[in-house]
Amino acid sequence: MISEATLELARCQSCQARFLPADGPCPKCGSFQCTPYSTSAVGKVLAATELHYPAAGWHAPHRLALIEVADSVRLLAIVDGTLPVSGALVEIRREKDVYHARPEPAG
């Protein structure tokens, strides 16, 4: 079963960059004239790591992943669960200003 969850991206009306978070501004040119759009919340892990010495206030091990979603947009997410390998698919959700990734449900 393919996840139906969606992720908000945005396209900058000035420089056409695509990015997130969709509430902007555009990270390339600073414009607030951006059009949000929805895409699949499934992304591909480009690299992931487990921090054994996290910053004060965080617990070890803390897992982070660099993920690519639609339109080659990349994001950094906290991994909930076991560390995915590069190339694995994960489902992304946004919680306040932070993205979380978990292994995509098998289907």
């Binding site: 990015f19 978070p21 990270p27 390339k28 480009l46 690299a47 992931a48 790591t49 487990e50 921090l51 054994h52 010495y53 996290p54 910053a55 004060a56 206030g57 965080w58 803390h62 982070l64 660099l66 947009v73 990349r74 994001l75 950094l76 997410a77 906290i78 590069s86 200003d97 932070v98 993205y99």
Partner: protein
């Protein structure tokens, strides 16, 4: 208005009992002795944390008072781990105006009086706030960069181990280096995981230390030939690529242009290897070798003391220790020592004529390249 490095002062990097001001004053004193205590009319001081025993120090006036330089002009700069490079560039550009005769540049950090978790949190101030909000740390993002580099060129972590072995072998000859013991590839590979693929011995240490140098009008073996700096997107995901640092490429291009020379004329290089695999990326970005060729340079020993282009004869950041602000200035100081024939046991095999020092802020968000050498004209 030409300027040259007339003197370098450096105390030992490592775990030191002294506080921030004493560390800075020690290095400054050594640099001032080197020019026979000639008058200083500009003081440039850099520190990321300026951490004193009761909080942030008013570092610039405190040091001016301590050194008896109240009649000088002064600047305090901060560019996280690139602070030392920024401090030097600030002084060099100020001297270029012709308004100053002789500058004392000091970069200092006190770090070992806080826990690793506290330092890790404080160092993350050089990252984008959205990355900090996700619990990112310097080693965490450096691990992602390293993983991408290894993937791109189909490499194992052996090349990272080799870069650490090189750094530590160089550091053994530098009496001011934090680490005085060489390591084997097996020891690096067996060190504990920090953020894989990075292990403890791939990461720079938390160190105390200071570097100072005197920059004065005129020429010498360590004349300022070229300066360049470059920014990149602070947020890692906004960068065009992760296996090369645009901030270095831009800074290097500007430095080569201003010096009217190319990377082929470099006799010695100091790069900011906050994590040992970054040394590979840096020498590629400086154009010393092509993309993906750096592992071969390390494997063949071309970065050694008698190699094609000796890299980090001081031990680099991984070998010398990393009092963050002081590292960037230590890199410039090392190149100056090599050019001036004052490097002692860490001198490269053939006395160099032209050298380059590279300093990196955070994960290469703002980098500085400095080219020093004997003045041709």
């Amino acid at each position: 208005m030409t300027a040259h490095v007339a003197s370098v002062g450096m105390g030992r990097f490592g775990k030191r009992p002294e506080g921030l001001i004493d560390l800075a004053a020690e290095a400054a004193g050594l640099a001032l002795e080197g020019v026979g205590r000639k008058p200083i009319d500009l003081l440039v001081v850099g520190s990321m944390f300026a951490q004193g025993p009761h909080g942030r120090e008013a570092l610039l006036p405190r040091l001016a008072g301590r050194l008896g330089l109240e009649s000088a002009s002064g600047f305090r700069v901060d560019s996280s781990s690139g602070t030392g490079g920024m401090a030097f560039h600030t002084a060099a550009l100020a001297l270029e105006t012709g308004r100053f005769e002789r500058a004392l540049v000091v970069a200092v950090e006190k770090m070992t009086d806080r826990t690793t978790a506290e330092i890790t949190r404080d160092l993350a101030a050089s990252l984008h706030m959205s990355e900090v909000a996700a619990g990112a740390t310097m080693p965490g993002l450096a691990a992602i960069v390293t993983e991408r580099y290894l993937q791109r060129y189909g490499l194992s972590t052996d090349v990272c181990d080799l870069a650490t072995v090189h750094a530590r072998a160089m550091a053994v000859t530098n009496p001011n280096a934090h680490f005085q013991k060489a390591v084997t590839p097996a020891e690096v590979a067996a060190s504990r995981a920090v953020a894989l693929p990075l292990r403890l011995l791939h990461c720079s240490a938390i160190s105390d230390g200071a570097t100072a140098l005197v920059l004065e009008r005129g020429t010498g073996p360590a004349t300022v030939l070229g300066l360049g700096q470059g920014f990149d997107a602070l947020r890692l995901v906004d960068r065009e690529e992760l296996t090369s640092f645009a901030a270095t490429r831009v800074a290097a291009r500007r430095a080569y242009e201003s010096a009217h020379l190319t990377r082929k004329e470099l006799d010695v290089v100091e790069v900011h290897d906050a994590f040992s695999p970054f040394a590979l990326i840096h020498i590629e970005d400086l154009g010393i070798c092509g993309p993906g060729e750096a592992p071969g340079w390390f494997e063949k020993g071309w970065v050694g003391r008698d190699g094609r282009v000796p890299v980090n004869p001081s031990g680099g950041v991984v070998g010398r220790g990393h009092p963050v602000a002081a590292s960037g200035l230590a890199e410039i100081g090392e190149v100056a020592l090599q050019l001036r024939g004052e490097a002692g046991r860490h001198a490269i095999s053939k006395r160099p004529k032209i050298g380059l020092a590279h300093a990196m802020s955070g994960i290469a968000s703002h980098n500085f390249v400095t080219i020093l050498g004997g003045k041709a004209a």
